[in-house]
Point group: C2
DNA sequence: CCTTCGGTTTAGATCGATCTAAGTTAGCCC
DNA sequence: GGGCTAACTTAGATCGATCTAAACCGAAGG
């Protein structure tokens, strides 16, 4: 709630108009590229505006027109490469039709999220795409709902909030992972490793994974399937701890590639060559192919996911939106960490 | 340039006022928590506002007060974890004094950057922090300069633009890298690997690195020091290519950790055990410690860098800013990739 | 009883744009 | 010359708030 420049008086439309003996309305028409003004006037106005250093005040225009071109993308973690890439898709679709997408970072704190959403409502933004903070509840979205601000929930569901939702196909991810581990690698005992218990994707994925894996006759390792922060570091420490206690399951679906990185490091640390463990990540970050061993991962095209999200928001705003509104299907990208490809020269297999 | 809700008529301050037989001014005072209104009126107003579903219009207020709480953080790549973390620091410092920081993504395209900066000026933002797009020139900032919008340049310098600048200490980074490779590891032939030729940090780092390394009596490998996209993939391909042609230098300072990842993968691929190569990254991303081999890296605390940047912007806006306005000094974080620590069990040394 | 005073409240102008409906031209045709 | 049209241009209200300066009001003071 600060700002504003000191110094010389700002120049307004009326200054340009007076300076030319025209009315504000005419200058306004020029600024908006209306075909109603003659070429001569248009040029004169543009030249004079330039000369006076006039800067169009979009904020004032927005107030009058009751319109806004700002769309807020509210997310808990800009550092997560997956969501960062999703933002590209959102921006692509919305930018195309003239919206201005800006990202606000909640750092996964509900208080901050609340404040940001409130600010967006107060500024009369055109729309909001949000990945809710982990501990968010329906209450946190009550204000949003009431304000009528077009909103799309991304990636994380919230109980009791019936806003449109766009996310990855968790059931398919679980099934893909299960099938790959059991059918391709013949795993006999598996786990779902990592992920915050509050994260809605975890629930869906783990459930379908566990069902599919059980149907395939594999055992479930409950100890390895406890929830956990979705960071590489937390995964590393937990895995190291569990490895002390005994051999790992022979197949693990990790909550994210980040988690897989931590697990891969722990496995490298001390697993006897005799107990190989097939590791699968989720998200397929760019780096996963660079990793040693390269990380097998279940990918959902993040940019396309973002585009879908953008289109759903457009629809929500009552605008035409061409293209699919169904999130892309996940795909298995098999590499070395599950044992599909040999690891590169000097290092051994994944586990 | 769209948006606006359909449905019932919006409720304004005057509606709340009329409904209570008060004036707009009084309601306005309540909304701004002025001590001028009596407790009784305040409560009545708040209750009535709640009842009518009134939502304060910050945009209208901003127009009248000529103030704004929006600060734009304009960056070329939200997916880069280093800059993402810098944004945390900026947000921390500015959020503390009531500013609302939002991030806009230029995807390193000057056209888009121009458009975004223009939009920020047009919306009368309170200030801007920007990491210029790679190909940006002074022209791209002419409008910004003229508008008087308080601006800070982050990480990348632009010739001919005298806006305040905050960035890492490139000379120190070059020196640290040189010293580590020559004095600690006794490297005899080194290179600076990767980085776009247009990126201003590359120039500063490489220059000081080369000077220090030459003074220490080590040779310079020009072929390995050619510029290159700062991605892991580009680094991998280039390194693989160069390795075909002959042995690598025995010490390499990489433009970033991402570049180091690519190089590490290439080295794993085919280096004969006989030709070890010490690899150093820059930025020390969180993942670098997880890598195999763990990546040695020269770190500048990104969050603190962001804080410094926020403080410089505050000063630029004529506001008090407590705390340092000098970027933190870089530090060497030695791990396995340069040979400082043994790599973890199964794999061999870095190269 | 009138004045003064501090605590509240308010009318009217204002921020910088857009919109509506009406006004001004010039040109053309009969 | 008058009427009509097409092409521009404009005055005044408006968006939803804040600001200034003045008004109101009950109590205390003279």
């Amino acid at each position: 709630m600060q700002g504003g420049r000191p110094g010389v008086r700002r120049v307004r439309m009326i200054d340009v108009a007076n300076s030319l003996g025209l009315s504000r309305a005419t200058v306004s028409l020029v600024m908006r590229n209306s075909p109603l003004v003659s070429e001569a006037t248009r040029n004169a106005v543009l030249a004079e505006a330039e000369r006076l250093g006039y800067i169009y005040n979009q904020a004032a225009a927005n107030l009058r027109t009751q319109r806004n071109d700002l769309v807020g993308l509210v997310m808990p973690d800009v550092m997560n490469p997956f969501v960062a890439e999703v933002s590209l898709g959102v921006q692509e679709v919305l930018g195309e039709v003239g919206f201005f997408v800006m990202i606000a970072n909640t750092v996964d704190r509900v208080g901050l999220q609340r404040q940001i959403l409130g600010s967006l409502v107060g500024h009369r933004a055109a729309g909001v795409v949000t990945i809710p903070a982990l501990t968010a509840t329906a209450d946190d979205f009550a204000g949003l709902r009431q304000s009528g601000l077009p909103t799309v929930l991304l990636l994380r569901r919230i109980d009791g909030v019936d806003l449109p939702f766009v996310g990855t196909d968790e059931a398919a991810i679980g099934r893909l992972g299960a099938e790959h581990l059991t059918a391709v690698h013949g795993c006999r005992r598996v786990a779902y490793f990592g992920g915050d218990p509050l994260a809605s994707p975890r629930v869906g994925r783990m459930e379908s994974f566990r069902r599919a894996v059980t149907e395939a006759g594999a055992g479930w390792d409950a100890a390895w399937s406890q929830p956990l922060d979705a960071t590489a570091d937390a995964a590393y420490r937990r895995a190291a701890e569990l490895l002390e206690a005994g051999p790992p399951p022979d197949g693990v679906l990790c909550h994210s590639d980040n988690v897989a990185y931590g697990l891969a490091k722990a496995l490298r640390l001390g697993t006897p060559e005799a107990a190989p463990c097939a590791v699968l990540g989720i998200d397929d970050l760019h780096q996963s192919a660079m990793w040693n061993p390269s990380i097998s991962s279940i990918a959902t095209d993040p940019v396309e996911l973002g585009r879908v999200c953008g289109r759903v928001l457009l629809a929500e705003m009552g605008m035409p939106a061409e293209g699919s509104r169904v999130p892309p299907a996940p795909e298995m990208h098999a590499r070395a960490s599950c044992g599909c490809h040999r690891a590169t020269r000097p290092a051994g297999r994944a586990g």
